[in-house]
Subunit: 477 residues, 2 copies
C-alpha cells in the first residue's frame, strides 16, 4: 500500500465514533464533543445502540444503520471487539480505523499480542488502514479533528508524528502557549499497521507542514525508516525526541507501546547522519519546535543582546559565547548614536546592554536593540525582558511595555531575526493576582499574538538558535 | 580587621539612609519604605535637608543632628560626596556604610577609579567598613532589612553572597516562589572593602545559615578565597554560580563590577577541589538552592517515580538513568499489593508508574508512591504531577488533588526523601483565569506552604538531587 495516499486520513467527509458515550471522563465521550467543538464540517456519526443522541448529535445503533459511506472510524470499544468491527467497516467503505483501546501488546500478555496480530490480519484482509492501537489519534485543526480540550483551533505549520498520546497532547498544549500552531499531530501508539515511517513520509510531502516533530520509542523497519528520515530531513527540519534511551527507559517503552527501543547510540548516529535534529529532552524539543517554526533563518553567529541588569548581562554573554556565538563589541557608530542621548554611558555601555546603567538617560533596551537591528555587525538579536528593577509598579511597568513593544516592532520590521527571552516561573495562586506576574503574562500574550518566538531562558534560546544556524549552514553547503 | 566580627552588620540598632527621598522609582526612596515594611525594630533615620519627614518617618538634615550613635548607614548620595560623608560618619560611631551608588570603577573612567580608592582610604582611616559601591546591600528578613519589594518576611536558612544586585533580587524573588527562605543575602558589588571572602567566611560560621549560595564575577585575593571556600564547604553546602566564564562574559563583568573574571577552568578546578558545588546556569543555581535547603539528605541512587502517562514515564526513566540513578524494577511485594486493588495491571505496571494504565482501577499515583515510601528498595522518590489527561475538569481535578495531597503526606511522613515535579509554563494572561492553570498554581502554593521541594522538570530535579547525593557521599567518606 502506497504511503503517498495517506492524505485521505486528514480529509474525511464523515467520521463515525464507535462506542460513543456521554461519559465526559472517557475519550468515547470526548471525541464527539471535539468534532463539534473544533468545527468538523463533514458528517458526525456517534454509534451507540442504547441512545438516540450523544451530546445532541443523532446516534446510530451500528455502522450499517448509517446512510451512505463512512471514511473514518474512531474505535472506542474494547480491543477484543475490534475484529468484528473491522468486518462491519468493510461493508461501509471505511478506509481508516483509529483504534483507541490500549491494554494490547504493551501489557506483555500473550493473548493481547495474539489479538493485535488478528486485528492486523483482518484489517489487511479488508484493505482497511489502522492507526494504533493504544493511541489518541489525530489532531488536525484545519479539518476539525482533535484529541484534546482547549487546543488551538487555528492551524499552523508544525506537523508531528508521536508514539505517545500524552506526549502528543503535551506538545500541543505546551507548544501552543509558546505560539506554536500545528498542521497535523498524529498519536499512533503501537503502530500495528501505519507506523512512524508512514507518517514521517507523509509529513515530509505535506505542503501544510513546514517543520516535523517526532517522538519515537521504537521503529518497525530501521532500513526503511532511515531512508525516509534522510529524505524528509532534506526537505524540512525534522526534530526528534527519542524515548527509551536507557535500560530503564527501554523497559518502560516496552510496557508503554510494546516498542523495542534499540541502541540510543545507534539512534544518535542515525539522526545525525540523516541530517535531522535531536532534542535533548521534552523542553528542548518544544524549544526547537518554536525555533524552527517561528524564528527567521539565521545564517551567522554574531549576536546583539539586551535586557536585564549587569549580572544578567554577564551570564547572558557567557551562555551565548559558550554556545559558540560571537558576542561582538558594541560598534563605534552605535556608541556615537548613544552618545547623543546618553553621554554618561556612551563609552561604558556594551553588548550585552546592561539596562541598569541606563537609568536617568533617555534610552532603553528597545532603542539600543533597534540600533543593532539596523547595523550590519549583527546576524541576529536576543531581546530579554527586564524582569525586576528595584522600583515600584508605576515606574517599572512602562519600562517593560517599552521593551515588549520595541521588541515586537523589531520582529515586525524584519531587518534581523530576533528571539525574545522571558522567564517561566513557578507561580502560586496568589501570584495570579499580582501586578508583576500579570504584567509578564500580558507580555507573553502579546508575543503569541504577534507570533514572536520567545524562550524561558537565554541558555535555552541560545541552544535552539544554535540548531537553527547549524541547520541553515548544512542546507547552504 | 577580623572577619569574625561581621555579625554587627546584621544586627544594627539604628539605620540612617543618607540621601533618602520620596521618589519611589529610586532606591533612595525604597530603602526607607523597606525598613518600615519589613519591620525593622531599631531606629530609622532618613537624612534629607529639605524635608521634615520621608514617608511619614521623621527626617534629619544631616547625620550630626541625629541624637545618639548610628550603626549602619545606607549611602544613597553621589559617589563623589561619599568621602565627606565618611568623615561625618566617623563622628557618629558608624561601623558600616553601604555605598549604593555605582558609576564607579566599573565605568573604566580614570577619575572614578581614583575616587573609589580615595573612598577606601578614608574609610580605613576612620575604621569604617564598606559594602559596595555599586550594590543593593543587605536583605535580612529576620531584622527587617530588605533590598526589594515583596520579598518573604519569613526568614530561612539560605545565606547568599552575590556580587550582582540584579542576581541577588532574582534569587530571592524566584527562589521564594519555589519555597526558599533566606537568612542573609548580601549584594556587595565592587567589593572595595568587604569582599566575597569576608562574606563567605561569615556565612560559613553563621548558625542561621545552613546553605550558602554565591554569585561571583571575580575575587580580590585568590589564595585567601580558596582557603575560606574550602573551610566553608567543609561546614555546609556552598553553591557557586560563576559569572564571567568566557571572553565576552569577562568583558561584561569588567564593566559591571570592575571584576577580573579569571580563567573559568581554574575556577572550576578550585570549586571542585574545595568541595563546593558548581551551578551550570541561573536556573540550576536556584534548583540546587532548593535541593540543598529543602530536600532531606539522600544517600543512595535507587529511585521510585510516579506521575504522567506512558511517554512521560519513558522519558522520566531515561533522564533518571542518564543522571546515574538506579530506576529499580517494581518490587514483587508491591506488585502483590497492587494485585489486590488492580488485578488488570499488577504484572504490567512498572517503575516509573504510568498513570494512564491505572484508569478504571481503585489506585493512583499517590497510593503507589506511598507503597514505595514504605519499601526498603528505594532510596528516594520523585512524585510528578500529572498535568494532562484526556478528560474534563470534574474528572481531572480530583485526580490532581489526590496526587498533591498524597505527595505532601509522603513528605510529611518522612519515611523517604521525596521531590515533586511540576511544570512551569509560559502562561499568557488568559491562562490566569483558566481552571487548569489555577489548579496547578494552587498545587504550587500547597507545596510551598508544606515546604515540599519541587522542580519544573524531572531532568532538573534529577540533576539537583544528584548533587545532593554526591555531597552527602563526599561528607560520608
Amino acid at each position: 500500500m502506497s504511503n503517498s495516499s495517506l492524505d485521505f486520513i486528514f480529509h474525511p467527509q464523515s467520521v463515525a465514533i464507535v462506542g460513543a458515550s456521554e461519559n465526559v471522563a472517557m475519550l468515547s465521550g470526548n471525541y464527539v464533543q471535539h468534532l463539534v467543538n473544533y468545527g468538523f464540517k463533514g458528517n458526525i456519526y456517534p454509534i451507540n445502540p442504547k441512545r438516540p443522541t450523544i451530546f445532541g448529535v443523532k446516534a446510530y445503533p451500528d455502522l450499517k444503520s448509517i446512510p451512505g459511506n463512512i471514511d473514518y472510524v474512531i474505535d472506542c470499544i474494547a480491543l477484543e471487539d475490534t475484529p468484528a468491527l473491522l468486518a462491519a467497516c468493510s461493508q461501509k467503505g471505511v478506509q481508516l480505523v483509529h483504534v483507541f483501546a490500549g491494554r494490547a501488546a504493551e501489557t506483555g500478555h500473550k493473548d493481547s499480542i495474539e489479538l493485535e496480530q488478528k486485528i492486523l490480519q483482518v484489517a489487511r484482509q479488508y484493505g482497511i488502514r489502522l492507526i494504533g492501537p493504544n493511541c489518541l489519534g489525530i489532531y488536525c485543526p484545519g479539518v476539525g479533528l482533535s484529541t484534546g480540550w482547549d487546543f488551538p483551533k487555528e492551524p499552523g505549520t508544525v506537523g508531528a508524528a508521536i508514539q505517545s498520546g500524552g506526549n502528543s497532547t503535551d506538545l500541543v498544549r505546551w507548544g501552543a502557549l509558546r505560539g506554536m500552531r500545528f498542521s497535523k499531530v498524529i498519536s499512533y501508539g503501537n503502530a500495528l499497521d501505519l507506523n512512524e515511517s508512514d507518517f514521517l513520509e507523509y509529513l515530509a510531502g505535506d505542503p501544510e507542514t513546514r517543520v516535523i516533530m517526532c517522538y519515537f520509542e521504537g521503529v518497525k523497519d530501521g532500513r526503511r525508516f532511515f531512508d525516509i528520515l534522510r529524505s524528509a530531513a532534506r526537505q524540512k527540519p525534522v526534530i526528534i525526541l527519542k524515548g527509551g534511551r536507557t535500560r530503564a527507559g527501554s523497559k518502560a517503552a516496552s510496557t508503554h507501546t510494546a516498542s523495542l527501543a534499540g541502541s540510543y547510540n545507534m539512534w544518535s548516529i542515525m539522526i545525525k547522519q540523516a541530517g535531522a535534529i535531536q532534542a535533548l529532552n521534552f523542553d528542548d524539543w518544544v524549544d526547537l519546535g518554536v525555533a524552527f517554526s517561528m524564528v527567521s533563518p539565521i545564517k551567522g553567529t554574531r549576536v546583539g543582546i539586551t535586557g536585564g541588569g549587569g549580572g544578567r548581562s554577564v551570564l547572558s554573554a557567557d551562555e551565548c559565547e559558550e554556545m559558540g556565538f560571537d558576542v561582538v563589541p558594541l560598534p563605534s557608530d552605535i556608541r556615537e548614536q548613544i552618545r547623543e542621548k546618553a553621554p554618561i554611558i556612551w563609552d561604558w555601555v556594551g553588548n550585552p546592554v546592561d539596562v541598569s546603567i541606563m537609568r536617568g538617560t533617555s534610552i532603553g533596551n528597545a532603542e539600543v536593540l533597534t540600533m543593532m537591528a539596523k547595523h550590519p555587525d549583527f546576524d541576529f538579536l536576543i531581546g530579554q525582558i527586564t524582569e525586576d528593577i528595584p522600583s515600584v509598579p508605576d515606574d517599572f511597568m512602562p519600562k517593560v511595555h517599552n521593551e515588549v513593544d520595541g521588541y515586537i516592532q523589531i520582529f515586525k520590521g524584519g531587518l534581523k531575526p530576533i528571539v525574545v527571552v522571558q522567564s517561566e516561573k513557578s507561580l502560586g495562586i496568589n501570584e495570579f493576582s499580582n501586578w508583576r506576574w500579570r504584567l509578564f503574562a500580558e507580555a507573553r500574550t502579546q508575543f503569541v499574538e504577534a507570533k514572536v518566538p520567545f524562550f524561558p531562558t537565554i541558555g535555552r534560546a541560545a541552544r535552539a538558535v544554535k540548531e537553527v544556524i547549524n541547520y541553515y549552514q548544512r542546507k547552504g553547503s
